[in-house]
């Protein structure tokens, strides 16, 4: 049972979150310029990393925010969680 630190709401039980899979898959700016293989790569091919992995989670039962989680997929240890494009925002969670 993971304990995930929502960058806004703090540590919450896994059941409050939903999973969004691999993070940082940038949607191509001009999809029509891609051939079928390139498009398939964006669409389907995944790193599926065994080890340190950057992924997306949504605090779906809470503040509905999507955020980034760096997690070890073997030990399930979460190294860090952070907001998307959130470098500027850094206020701490009260508690």
């Amino acid at each position: 049972m993971l304990l995930i630190k929502c960058p806004w709401c703090g540590e919450r039980d896994e059941t409050e979150f939903s999973y969004g899979g691999e993070a940082a898959i940038k949607r191509p700016l001009k999809p029509k310029d891609l051939n079928d293989e390139q498009w398939a790569d964006y669409l389907f091919m995944r790193k599926n990393t065994r080890g340190l992995f950057l992924e997306q989670w949504n605090h779906s039962v809470g503040c509905r925010q999507w955020f980034l989680v760096e997690r070890n997929t073997i030990t399930y240890e979460i190294i860090s969680t952070k907001r998307i494009n959130s470098d500027a925002l850094n206020s701490e969670v009260p508690q």
Partner: protein
């Protein structure tokens, strides 16, 4: 006149025959549907928005995550760009004060929520049966709120006083489930439901 024709999610939930004697360990649950809810959206990076919101509602907008402010209304933090106003006041005159020049967006949610007020010694024990949040005295303070799960429904939970009194705000279509959940799980403590009009 309009008040009489309104129907709330938990109307008819209380079966008078069932109302039980409550032990000192028990708790009192007050169904408070007849209030108004308004959702606010805007950017916290936009000082005009914050200033305007506070002017419109005559109250501080809680910018600290998972807190609420109390004044004429309760204003709950829901998300970095979202708040919920819970109020006895009519919404219309408030909404009319909103300037179209400011990026402050509201949606009326009055029909969408129901509020339950839980009081008694066993409230924490009862909620902890289905809520994974740490709501012990030292961890969940007065003035704090959290959107979390209760059983299989999402709720907004807030602690308003040390008696303790917890507010649960739940979406209309989940209110019956939450009511039944509280009734069933509260059985071991004894629960008394009341309506406040």
């Amino acid at each position: 006149m309009l008040n009489e024709i309104k129907k709330y999610a938990l109307d008819g939930f209380i079966n008078e025959k069932e109302s039980s004697v409550i032990s000192p360990q028990g708790l009192e649950i007050n169904i408070r549907a007849e209030i108004n809810f308004l959702n606010i959206r805007g950017s916290i990076n936009d000082s005009d928005f914050i200033e305007h919101a506070e002017a419109v509602f005559q109250q501080t907008l809680p910018l600290d995550f998972n807190t609420f402010s109390v004044g004429e209304h309760h204003i709950y933090w829901l998300a970095p760009d979202e708040w919920l106003v819970v109020t006895d006041h009519d919404l219309k005159p408030i909404v009319q004060k909103i300037s179209p020049k400011i990026d402050l967006y509201v949606t009326n949610q009055t029909g969408g929520y129901t509020q339950l007020i839980l009081q008694g010694n066993s409230v924490r024990s009862l909620l902890s049966k289905g809520c994974t949040l740490d709501i012990s005295e030292k961890k969940f303070l007065i003035g704090q709120c959290a959107q979390t799960g209760l059983g299989k429904a999402g709720i907004l939970l807030a602690l308003t006083d040390s008696s303790p009194t917890f507010n649960i705000i739940v979406r209309r279509s989940f209110a019956e489930y939450v009511g039944l959940w509280l009734k069933q799980c509260g059985n071991e403590f004894g629960v008394n439901f009341t309506h406040k009009h």
